[in-house]
Symmetry: C2
Subunit: 267 residues, 2 copies
């Protein structure tokens, strides 16, 4: 069956996360990605954008249309600023919408440094406990079912397998959804991106994963009991543990460059 083949032909890292707006199979999407990575990695750095003639001659011969649409996407995400006649420049980092799913994805691909991972974990540390508290207060039966299903995917599949990782991401996303707060839910993509990366970095450390399973389960129990404070405390513990094991993997493990290279390769 050729279509099944096509579907499974390559697993991309960001396939796990929420559907992104970035059509990588479309031309403008490729150009946008290439430019974004160049900007985020600092290759372009707040200077003027590479003239389109360069871009389309070096990479692939893209028409002005595709190039402009790619630039429009980057503009919408704050990566570049196009001023009427003076030129299109790469924007300073303060302007980037770092919480945009695509920007996060590009950022990890371009410059997955430790400071950035720390910052994201800090965000998780502040947000996720509160979200868990809300979830405990507002969850419906359907929310519980969704969280349970995600947890089941984690326990019933081998650690760090695709299905297991997907389950972990779904676990956290379901808790966000149970919070019933739409703006808050937008942060789920940032959390998921963080999780995904920490999972890739930690891959192989199965004891750490096994330890985290009861923590997940206990969070679910607190949410079922509508015990917001307990859910928040337990979520705090989970995030801190996750940060520690992730940083341990990054610092101790000399495999880090290899892993990062592999992640980039599987993009």
């Amino acid at each position: 069956m050729p279509q099944g083949e096509r579907k499974g032909r390559s697993i991309r890292v960001r396939d796990f996360s929420r559907p992104t707006t970035l059509n990588a199979d479309r031309l403008f999407g490729q150009v946008a990605q290439k430019l974004a990575v160049a900007i985020i990695s600092g290759e372009i750095g707040a200077g003027e954008l590479l003239p389109n003639e360069d871009a389309l001659r070096a990479d692939i011969s893209v028409s002005r249309t595709a190039f402009r649409e790619a630039v429009k996407i980057l503009t919408a995400k704050g990566l570049v600023e196009a001023r009427p006649k003076s030129g299109t420049r790469a924007a300073p980092r303060e302007r980037w919408n770092l919480l945009d799913p695509d920007v996060l994805s590009w950022h990890f691909e371009a410059d997955p440094n430790e400071k950035f991972i720390r910052d994201l974990f800090e965000l998780r540390r502040f947000v996720e406990p509160s979200v868990a508290r809300l979830a405990a207060q507002r969850r419906t039966a359907a929310d519980i079912a969704r969280i349970e299903a995600a947890l089941r995917a984690m326990t019933e599949n081998p650690p760090y397998s695709d299905a297991c990782v997907r389950g972990d991401l779904a676990f956290h996303e379901a808790i966000f959804a149970a919070s019933q707060n739409a703006p808050l839910q937008c942060l789920a993509s940032a959390v998921i991106a963080t999780l995904q990366w920490s999972m890739v970095l930690k891959k192989g450390e199965e004891e750490a994963f096994a330890d985290s399973l009861p923590d997940h389960e206990n969070i679910l129990l607190a949410i079922i009991d509508r015990d917001g404070d307990l859910a928040a405390v337990r979520m705090t513990g989970l995030v801190i543990d996750s940060l520690n094991t992730t940083l341990a993997s990054v610092n101790v493990g000399q495999v880090e460059p290899d892993k990062i290279a592999r992640i980039k390769h599987t993009k």
Copy 2:
């Protein structure tokens, strides 16, 4: 001087916030705004997008180029999803990047309902205290100067004047900046949008504003003292007070529809 005239001819609500990517003076920007408002207000609602022929004939005769670039912007912000053969559809609300500055601005213009304001205050309630704690721990002398300058703008100008409002926004933004966490800083735009709206709704209630001034000052003092816990507690109090007075204005004041209409008018 005609150019000065043009600058001051209309005060826009979002002029106070960080510079948005939305070029309202460009054609594609206007189309994007119009479509975005139609989607967010529910006028289009997850169905198929109005065929471009309709759009360009009804509103203004815009070329396919401008229309497509507008759609690309909306795609990048998650408001629409374009698929090759099936058409370009308005996306469900879960996909919207509600924390994007432009989307926030459009959301307030299209559908400033109480639930949304509550959700945003909830976000503030969770995030800002933690940010204040970080700011207290990491602030530099320059950060202090920036916060002080913002506070001065609040005290030295008449309540709810433009300069005063700008000062209030700058106060909160400066605290975010002092946290030294880039992803966290992206939430500043959401906080600022919330503040801006609550300020417009509260306008005229000068006693509430006067009461909040010492609160602001005390937060600054805690940050100067590097007392993170105290800064967090005080920020929590400020956010809660702000929510209460804002909701009181919305619920008690029968002026609400009038005010909202006026805000929309000044867009």
